[in-house]
Amino acid sequence: MTRKQRRGVLIGTCLVVLGLAVGLVLYAMRDSIVFFYSPSDIAEMQLAPTQRIRLGGLVERGSVERAAGTTIRFVITDGGKTLPVTFTGMLPDLFREGQGVIAEGTVQADGVFHADSVLAKHDENYMPPEVAAKLKTKGMWRGDSEAGGASPQATN
């Protein structure tokens, strides 16, 4: 094998692996990325019941109700629109009425958001950033400066 051929094999392998990686990334970008919306965004668009999204906002006060077993219904609001949510499972420790929350799942034909996961970070002053941004644009932001507690980034 000449020097040139060796280099050819090396460059060829690199190109094949890189091509494979780019292909995989592009394919995954199309199918496995979840967009984040607020109830107002959802009211303005038609979502297929198969499209997974993240829904963010505040848990409306007085809206949490427990149904049979471990199913829970509540309403997520962004000050403008609201969206009812149903979730079966265990809520995170910091899930509370009036607090920010992110739910991931699909909007079903009946207009209810079926969440398969609900996130709230382990810090009571924490507001999911997407929620904070949306609330700011709605003028509902109260600020997060009351207690100078550890920022959620302090975990590492």
């Binding site: 020097r3 993240r54 427990r66 950033p129 590492n156």
Partner: protein
Amino acid sequence: MIAEVGHYALILALGVAIVQTVLPLIGTRLRDPQLTAVAVPAAQAEFILIGFAFLALMTAYVTSDFSVANVWQNSHSAKPMLYKISGVWGNHEGSMLLWVLILALFGAAVSTFGKNLPRQLQANVLAVQGSIAVAFLLFIIITSNPFMRIDPAPFDGEGLNPVLQDPALAFHPPFLYVGYVGFSMAFSFAVAALIDGRIDAAWARWVRPWTLAAWMCLTLGIAMGSWWAYYELGWGGFWFWDPVENASFMPWLAGTALLHSALVMEKRDALKVWTILLAIITFSLSLMGTFLVRSGVLTSVHAFAVDPERGVFILAIMGVFIGGALVLFAWRAPLLTQGGLFAPISREGSLVLNNLLLTVACAAVLVGTLYPLALEALTGDKISVGAPFFNLTFVPLIVPLLIAMPFGPLLAWKRGDLLAAAQRLTAAAVVSLAVIIVVLALHQNGPWLAPLGIGIGVWLIVGAATEIAYRVKMFDASGEEVWRRLRNLPRAAYGGALAHAGVGVMVIGLVATSAWREERIVALAPGGSVDIAGYQLTFKGVAPRIGPNYRERVGTFVISRGGSQFTVLHPSKREFTVERSTTTESGIHNGWRGDLYVVLGDQLKDGAFSVRVYFNPLVRLIWIGALVMFFGGAVSLSDRRLRVGAPKRARTKAAMATGGK
């Protein structure tokens, strides 16, 4: 008083670091041995000063001096002593101080133990280390001073985030940082070599132990973080592909590649330019990890824009060091001569493949981590890139690497024989196939790829054993000869095989728990029971209890199997009064088949509790695998050949000749 002294020590350290950067660089340019020699005591002084500042902050924490703002924000007098100490680095300012302390520790180590390094190289390395220290000390003193006072001093502190009050997490940041910062050694050596325009195999022999030590600590640090997330967050998961996790995983991937390419450089004097570039990339990823975690950019691109001081500062540090190093690389790398030709099928070739797949996989993780940030900054669209993305990109790129792994050590340097290697691996292939068939027969309903994954894990373990067996001629020589060879085999060979086997152990754990996990979420009233994976859990009720700085509700679950009771689990919900927050403590039973994992949820309307139960098969193998990798690294590090310095190369060669290679 102690805080002011600490602050003063920090400023002095900055001054010393400037001296450490400037004078040796001038000295090596002018060939002035006296100026060059300044590097050694300067690096030691810098370490002593930063160590003093760190101790000062620790004293403030231990004595609960709430007139120091940092202590007030992150500590409380009722907190257990361990968490008072770990609270020092459980916050932004303190963790940055730990970062520079470890940086200075590495610098001091080079100046103390690097006596047999060429003077010129040592001085340049210390100068580059010094410049990193200057940047981060400025960052701390200007934007993140941990010694700020508040007046009047509050009566008591605000406490540490309760999820951080945990033994595994107390030691997770130090190990992670030793890993991150340890890669600065490889970076400094790379930049020093570029400044000199000269590099040889002795360079790699010096860089490898430092990189190996950093890699070991990073491995352990990541594993600890994952172990903590597993039992503390109550979700039963061990890896979330969260940007913060990715930030530590990317340097690990690049560092693993660097370990292997440095091997080629050391043994065959090839891949020099690539190794230098990889050293720069690895530390750049460490800096990026620091930036991602410390700038607030992960919470939101906007949070970063709102409070830009720290973020922009670290971004600037990143820009200067990465940009500077890459420019230096582009300018000086052509000076480095390439050596060591090799055929595509050879040990070198297999290590090139290893590097290619690791760096490309690392790039895929980088894209997934940064894409949401870029998209939000550019279009304002918010997306989340989660596990599905990484499963589709990272896994297909890493699986070929795992399959190819046992071949590498069996190929000869320069020109290898793939067929012969394949023949030696026949036994490993047969064992793996047998395991795949058995697993398929046992789990017909699970995902069909899972048995193959288990097979790959077995392939790696048996493949690693095959390498050792082959090198000692296990089946070809007399018992006496095998014994002699076993004793003479260099420890690095054992270490490498052990680390590879550790990867196999981890793969088995990852695949088994991902594919065959069982989960039940039920509403249980006291007296009720639930069945999972052959276990029966009976809920006995909930009782209150008082801890040192929390109150908790403790559930009691009696676990029985086949009708006979064998253990009791106590998952609980803790309410931390000072911090006003709740944590979930899961109850975990560790059986040989896997973990039984119970989480106590909220009380429901009818008095029942929501209870989440998991059975995570073989999940412990994930962390056991990481430990095996760590010990593999330690065994390799204890190899005499790695500790022998450059001037003693003649003796090293002699040692290698008798080393049964």
